[in-house]
Symmetry: C2
Subunit: 213 residues, 2 copies
DNA sequence: ATGCCTACCAACCGATCGGTCAGTTAGATT
DNA sequence: AATCTAACTGACCGATCGGTTGGTAGGCAT
């Protein structure tokens, strides 16, 4: 914990054991889930022994929740850096989708970790201090869209728009490995073009305009 | 396996051990995943002993894949029953979304099972006979939309529309438990109303029409 | 120098894991 | 009546699980 002369020199070149444990745990849990990863695996990947992991975290569950909350906090921090001042609906929507999409692929482990929790039935999320973080993050996205809700058609609520945007990005991320295979059959475009089509679809709808007579 | 006089009488009132194993395995795997469920749990839930499970399935993996493929086949069978003949884009889209959504909630275990596979990194899906089933199912949905692609604006591809529809439903299902909590903050509507808003959004877009001068 | 604290480890614990095996039962086949 | 086979079970196997214990090494305050 305390950086001595020697230790601080180490910290420049290589990370502390605790950091390594958290890093490797995030990657492993994201890939195979809570039950699919043993503490021994995490320890080995981090280059320490199993007992050392239990020195830093009382239980496996505690390690897991710590990793989980770190991912949520990263989302909040990235959202802080997103500025949408004085932009209209179309520009906001585009920047929001771009930012979110970029974030997902910058932190694939954390993203997959939370996605995993969403699928589990008695999820850890609901009954842990992590959940309010997610809720707050969602609120912030809704707020960004509410500021331009006057540009939306009546009957379209900012919350639904927020949910659609986040859903499409998350689900796109979740099924990205399948896209190339599905693309063969359904002619799905690659990501940048696909994002453009999605944005177009959300803004203007899919139906061809029938001109008023 | 073979129904005797006595056995067939039993089969009317209660299911065979094999059926019970598959049923309980589906529910348990859906809730907690492959690694989160032990064969002993499945056996206990099905009212047989552990060795009996291994009598019907050589390995745990084999049981899992069997349950998984059953879920995919159920999707295909349900899709068979969906008729959209002689309907326009709007009507088709509505019926497609309704059907898909209803299917998800009719078979929540199977749905969650596949959703779980999508999140895993080296997923069982990709390298198993299950994957072509999914691919084929997706193709069929795209085909249903392609028949009315002339009603779509230029630049909107049926494959993207299919992906959007399925994504929104699946992600809505996946995060349904969170909806009521998120609703408090973001004023998310309940399901039927939410579906209506989504449909409206997809058809006509979110942006208010600016009338041509 | 002494005592104290944090980081770290080898060895160990009981429980449970996936899977095996020998043996029983009962209906079908000959 | 004898044989075969599928369905089923209890007891067991080695490996691994999450977690504990006892102890070492070293920086630091007294």
């Amino acid at each position: 914990m305390v950086p001595t002369l020697l230790a601080s020199a180490y910290e420049i070149s290589e990370k502390s054991a605790l950091t390594r444990i958290l890093l490797e745990a995030e990657a492993l849990f994201a890939q195979r889930g809570f039950d699919g990863v043993s503490i021994n695996e995490v320890a080995l990947a981090a280059g320490v022994c199993k007992a050392n992991v239990f020195h830093h975290f009382a239980t496996k569950q505690e390690l897991y929740e710590r990793v989980l909350s770190q991912s949520c906090e990263a989302f909040a921090r990235s959202l802080d850096a997103l500025e949408l001042k004085e932009q209209g609906l179309a520009a906001r929507l585009r920047r929001l989708m771009d930012w979110h999409n970029a974030f997902l692929y910058q932190r694939p482990h954390g993203t997959r970790l939370i996605l995993r929790e969403l699928t589990g039935s008695p999820t850890v999320l609901e009954s842990s201090p992590v959940f309010p973080l997610i809720q707050h993050n969602f609120d912030r996205v809704v707020a960004l869209l509410s500021e331009v809700s006057d540009e939306m058609r009546p009957g379209i609520s900012p919350a639904v728009v927020a949910k659609v945007v986040l859903s499409l990005n998350l689900f796109g991320f979740q099924t990205e490995r399948l896209n190339e295979k599905l693309a063969v059959s359904g002619a799905l475009a690659m990501r940048p073009e696909l994002q453009r089509q999605l944005l177009d679809l959300l803004l203007h709808g899919m139906q061809a305009q029938q001109l008023p007579p």
